[in-house]
């Protein structure tokens, strides 16, 4: 027999596998129906979109036919603070900060797949409140948006920020160590 929505079923498995490989399978257990079925595909994806990041605020604006999801997580907040530290150390303004630019490119790479989907990356290198740096995702109801693509993109974005935080920490630590061990100078700290 032909399987209804086999493509969507495989998308669900693909995302579950990515999260399993990332060590975040608990997100699947908490947000996906256990039964593998096309009928629960969109509920699975909505569950994931709202829970892949630690903080999510969602709102539907009927008047504008638009959904907004505001997503944030310690990996995003920490990344912006670290990128800001790098920028200060090199006297680079936030708008020209190569790491912030790279983050915007990465978000765009995963979310620029539909004219009915838009996003904003709000960067705060000196956050004033928890989850201040965040990504706003706008879904316009004018046409079909594959929520599976969106959910998968957000998983990849999460992993990118997570890796980028580690990368930036290494760069900043190495820089501090280089300052301490300037040639011809005494080592000031261990």
């Amino acid at each position: 027999m032909v399987i209804d929505g086999f493509d969507e079923i495989l998308n669900t498995l693909y995302i579950a596998k990515r999260l399993y490989d990332m060590g975040r399978y608990e997100v699947v257990e908490a947000n996906f129906f256990d039964i593998v079925d096309y009928d629960v595909y969109y509920e699975n994806m909505y569950g994931l979109i709202e829970n892949i990041f630690e903080n999510c605020y969602g709102q539907y604006y009927e008047k504008h036919g638009m959904e907004i999801h505001v997503l944030s997580d310690p990996v995003i907040v920490d990344f912006c603070v670290l990128a800001g530290e790098y920028g200060k150390a090199h006297k680079i303004p936030d708008e020209q900060n190569p790491y912030i630019q790279e983050a915007r490119q990465e978000i765009g790479r995963h979310l620029n797949f539909s004219y009915c989907l838009d996003w904003r990356f709000m960067v705060h290198t000196e956050p004033k409140r928890p989850f201040h740096s965040r990504i706003g995702v706008f879904i316009y109801q004018d046409d079909y948006v594959d929520l599976g693509w969106l959910a998968y993109g957000l998983v990849e974005i999460y992993e990118w920020f997570s890796d980028a935080c580690m990368r930036l920490r290494d760069i900043l630590q190495k820089k501090k160590a280089d300052v301490v061990k300037l040639p011809g100078e005494e080592v000031m700290a261990a």
Binding site: M1, V2, I3, L10, Y14, K17, R18, Y25, V36
Partner: protein, 98 residues
């Protein structure tokens, strides 16, 4: 008079080039048997029963390709064949002694 041996027919269908499956690696074979196999028989598949260590993400692309290029077509061909067989008009048997 046309006679059909069901055993021979099934065997011929299984051996026909159009229905032959390509070689699969271990991960794709796992997905074929545990996911596609069960769903195509109308049985439930549960995420909690999937062993995510038994396949790679690339194997999901392989089974997707296999489905769109081979399996889906095979199912349609098999359905069509079954439809033809079911609609063969009955042959009136005439006994020689009547």
């Amino acid at each position: 008079m046309v006679t059909v041996s069901v055993k021979q027919l099934v065997s011929a269908i299984e051996e026909a080039d159009a229905f032959k499956l390509p070689d699969m690696n271990r991960g794709t074979r796992y997905l074929y048997e545990r996911i596609y196999g069960r769903l195509s028989e109308g049985r439930d598949v549960r995420l909690s029963e999937v062993d995510f260590g038994s396949f790679e993400a690339d194997d999901i692309d392989s089974i997707r390709e296999l489905y769109s290029e081979t399996l889906e077509g095979n199912v349609r061909r098999a359905d069509s064949l079954a439809h033809i067989l079911q609609n063969i008009p009955p042959h009136t048997a005439v006994s020689a002694f009547v």
